[in-house]
């Protein structure tokens, strides 16, 4: 069985959470939280920490098993399989939608005349290749790419500093704390999506006591790293565009990329930035792809190349259904908020509670 080191776990987790969030995050939180939206990013991500800890404690109890298998043991086969089914459907649907987003972003921003299927095929090809190479290579891929994503983000943020407008951040907290709570609620689905992946990848993590504490530390690191990066992304957009424009811009960070000018040598870096973003999207879609594979494996016992290709076809099918950009983005928002969030928010605590209670009863 393949293994993932604690460091790889950190970068993989961070890359998966960060994945595709840094493009829409500013528009989303500013939309509900207004000028103060940026403050809601970090608390929103922090909600994920107790969930991660619950998953770890479950994994301690049932080592080398993913959460679906644990569900089947704890709730019995039928309920477990039912949960597994929902899990697979949600994850596959989201994966397909995100693949669709790859096409949308490229077409909107830098290659308006290239047909969408080229991006879909390119994306799914990379994902399949990654999946074929196994979870270890996937982890290494994130290990190499994540620093690049961070550097690209920081560069984009840093180079935008000369474009900052005066005083756009002020006044702080003019509307009280309510906008922050609203924003936090919008951020939570992001971290919940990660829980879906963690539920599966947990089977590949080391189980030793020392490693476990390293992993727990890793979770804190992931949450704070991604939280801070996303906060920065929101902040810089607020500072440059002001709240009204930040809400209006679909992919604000790309617009920022267009504004970058490095002393008359490079005029706009959005096409380079998109290259890095593609890797992030691939990691995210790949993580969902892996989740589907694990789901199929543990619920129906299906594995092998054939099923990988079947999943790829499903992903492609979903993305082809949403070629209208605006409806795609709305759909992603809906899935995040009304499918993933309730599912994860209920499933994991109940599973944890029941397994604890059972263990207590068993003693």
């Amino acid at each position: 069985m393949e293994r993932i080191s604690p460091h790889q776990f950190t970068t993989l987790g961070a890359a998966v959470i960060l994945g595709t969030t840094f493009l829409p995050v500013a528009s989303i939180v500013t939309g509900v939280g207004g000028r103060d939206g940026w403050m809601s990013v970090l608390p929103g991500f922090a909600v994920g920490i107790p969930y991660c800890l619950m998953i770890f404690s479950l994994s301690e109890q049932y080592p080398r098993k993913n959460l679906l298998q644990i569900s089947a043991t704890v709730f019995g086969k039928w309920i477990g399989n039912f949960i597994g089914l929902i899990y697979i459907l949600i994850v596959a649907y989201l994966g397909g939608l995100l693949l669709g987003q790859v096409g949308d972003i490229y077409q909107v921003s830098i290659m308006p005349l290239t047909p969408l299927w080229v991006f879909f095929l390119g994306g799914i090809f990379l994902v399949l290749y990654l999946v074929k190479s196994g979870i270890e290579v996937f982890a290494r891929f994130s290990e190499v790419v994540f620093p690049l994503i961070v550097i690209a983000l920081l560069l984009n943020v840093g180079l935008s500093i000369p474009r900052i407008e005066q005083g756009e951040l002020l006044p702080i907290l003019s509307e009280g704390f309510k906008p922050i709570f609203l924003g936090t609620r919008k951020i939570m689905p992001f971290v919940m999506t990660y829980m879906l992946f963690l539920a599966g990848v947990i089977a590949f993590l080391p189980t030793g006591k020392q490693e476990l504490s390293q992993l727990k530390k890793g979770v804190w690191r992931i949450i704070f790293l991604v939280g801070i990066l996303d906060t920065l992304v929101v902040l810089i957009q607020l500072l440059v565009f002001g709240p009204a424009e930040t809400i209006r811009l679909v992919y604000g960070l790309l617009v920022l990329g267009k504004l970058v000018e490095v002393s008359r040598t490079v005029a706009g870096v959005e096409s380079l930035f998109l290259g890095v973003w593609l890797a992030a999207a691939i990691i995210k879609i790949g993580s969902l792809f892996f989740s589907v594979i694990w789901g199929l494996e543990s619920v129906f016992g299906l594995k092998g190349v054939k099923w990988r290709h079947a999943i790829a076809v499903v992903f492609l099918g979903i993305s082809f259904r949403f070629i209208r950009g605006p409806s795609l983005i709305t759909e992603i928002g809906l899935v995040d908020e009304y499918l993933i969030m309730p599912f994860v928010a209920l499933w994991i605590p109940i599973l944890w509670g029941v397994s604890r209670w059972k263990r207590g009863a068993g003693n």
Binding site: S109, I110, P115, E165, G167, P171, F241, A244, V255
Partner: protein, 409 residues
């Protein structure tokens, strides 16, 4: 063996399919760089028909120069259309190259068009279409935008490029605001602040500057001078040079300035100098039960020019004179700012962004006056505090003069 060969065929088949996909379906959106016509400037004027406008587009046509450099030729068209896309369609029928929007530097809005409104509808294309950048400049034209773009400048630059370099060199003098599309949209987003644009105008010989004209009575130079204040969609009024300068001080936009006290009557000795550094802060505070905004301008100036001292000064007198200069400069700055504030009150338009400043500092109070803000502007108390520091007075102390002093009888 047979199955392996079969697989081999299949593999070759697949490879061929990929190759076909890649090469036969064409190269989507591919355009060679030499087939592009880089768009440098766009101008908008009022059209003859109602609901239309005259779009003037300035493209560059790069040409190979004999001395292995690039020479840029002018290709400027004007077309009447009712949407910008329609205008581009009409250009494309004439021009054999694909217009490339990524290089657009300036959008020029003609005076009549600015006054008639419908201005934000036009800009929508420029902020929506992916090739454009929000870093392009917006300027108002005195007269028609078409005329500005069709000027043949003595420097050989295309007018769009000339405007761009003038604006980018504007830091040196800080007498007109720099407005990029992104900045404009952000200002619009504040709702309370009135947008402001710099004004570009053609300069004929003997209109302030004299030069040898190429043709009779044709302008060969352009300059950016003053500013225009927008009220919603249309141009409300122009700011004079002095008002624009005041705006620059109050907005903390002054980077370097050339400044003089010649217009001041109180002192016989006049000073000219350069602003090295300037910083404007504002405070919103309660003054006699009423909110007041207070601007604090701090600036460092180096004296480059002294006019009219009648005699050689001793060291102490010299110090006094420099202190006098500080006061004089402060007066000039105050005058500029006051004229700007006066204009704001007259127009009832908050182009100085005072409302936004109040919101930033005291959002609770702002909420109470937000709705009647335009009425409040006229008598909202504003106070000024200008502090000038003279850093040095150049390479010499006293000026050279022939009337009495040391070393003479």
């Amino acid at each position: 063996m047979k199955t392996e060969r079969g697989k081999g065929h299949k593999f070759i088949l697949r490879l061929t399919i990929i190759a076909c996909l890649l090469f036969l379906t064409g190269c989507w959106g591919k355009k060679e760089v030499e087939d592009l016509a880089p768009l440098l400037g766009v101008g908008f004027d009022q059209g003859e028909q109602p609901g239309t406008f005259l779009v003037t587009e300035q493209f560059a046509r790069p040409k190979k120069d004999s001395s292995s450099g690039a020479e840029i030729e002018d290709r400027t068209f004007s077309v009447e259309a009712s949407s910008v896309r329609e205008a581009f369609e009409k250009f494309s029928e004439v021009a054999y190259r694909t217009p490339f929007m990524g290089s657009l530097k300036v959008i020029i809005i003609g005076e009549d068009f600015a006054k008639s409104g419908d201005f934000n509808n036009i800009l929508d294309f420029f902020q929506r279409y992916a090739e454009f950048r929000r870093s392009m400049y917006l300027v108002l034209a005195k007269g028609k935008a078409q005329d500005i773009l069709n000027l043949k400048l003595r420097s050989g630059l295309l007018p769009a490029m000339a405007i761009k370099s003038n604006i980018e060199g504007g830091d040196e003098i800080s007498v007109f605001p720099t407005v990029r599309l992104g900045h404009y949209l952000t200002i619009l987003g504040t709702k309370s602040t009135a947008p402001i644009f710099p004004v570009v105008e053609s300069v004929k010989s003997r209109e302030g500057v004299e030069y040898k004209e190429d043709g009779k009575d044709e302008a060969g130079e352009i300059r950016i001078h003053g500013a225009g204040v927008m009220h919603g969609d249309y141009l409300a009024d122009y700011l004079t040079d002095e008002e624009a300068k005041g705006y620059m001080w109050l907005e903390n936009d002054v980077i370097h300035r050339l400044i003089n006290t010649v217009d001041l009557n109180e002192n016989s000795v006049k000073f000219g100098g350069q602003v090295l550094k300037a910083n404007t802060k504002y405070r919103v505070k309660v003054n006699n039960d009423k909110m007041e905004i207070q601007y604090q301008i701090k600036t460092s100036i180096a004296i480059d020019e002294i006019l009219g001292p009648q005699k050689q000064l001793s060291g102490l007198e010299w110090v006094e004179l420099v202190k006098q200069a500080e006061k004089d400069f402060a007066k000039v700055i105050e005058k500029e700012c006051e004229s700007s504030i006066k204009k704001e009150r007259e127009l009832g338009l908050d182009f100085l962004g005072i409302g936004r400043h109040i919101e930033q500092k005291n959002s609770a109070y702002w909420k109470t006056i937000k709705d009647q803000w335009e009425a409040e502007i006229a008598d909202f108390p504003i106070s000024l505090e200008v502090k000038v520091t003279i850093h040095h007075s150049g390479m010499s102390s006293s000026s050279a003069s022939n009337s009495g002093g040391e070393g003479q009888e």
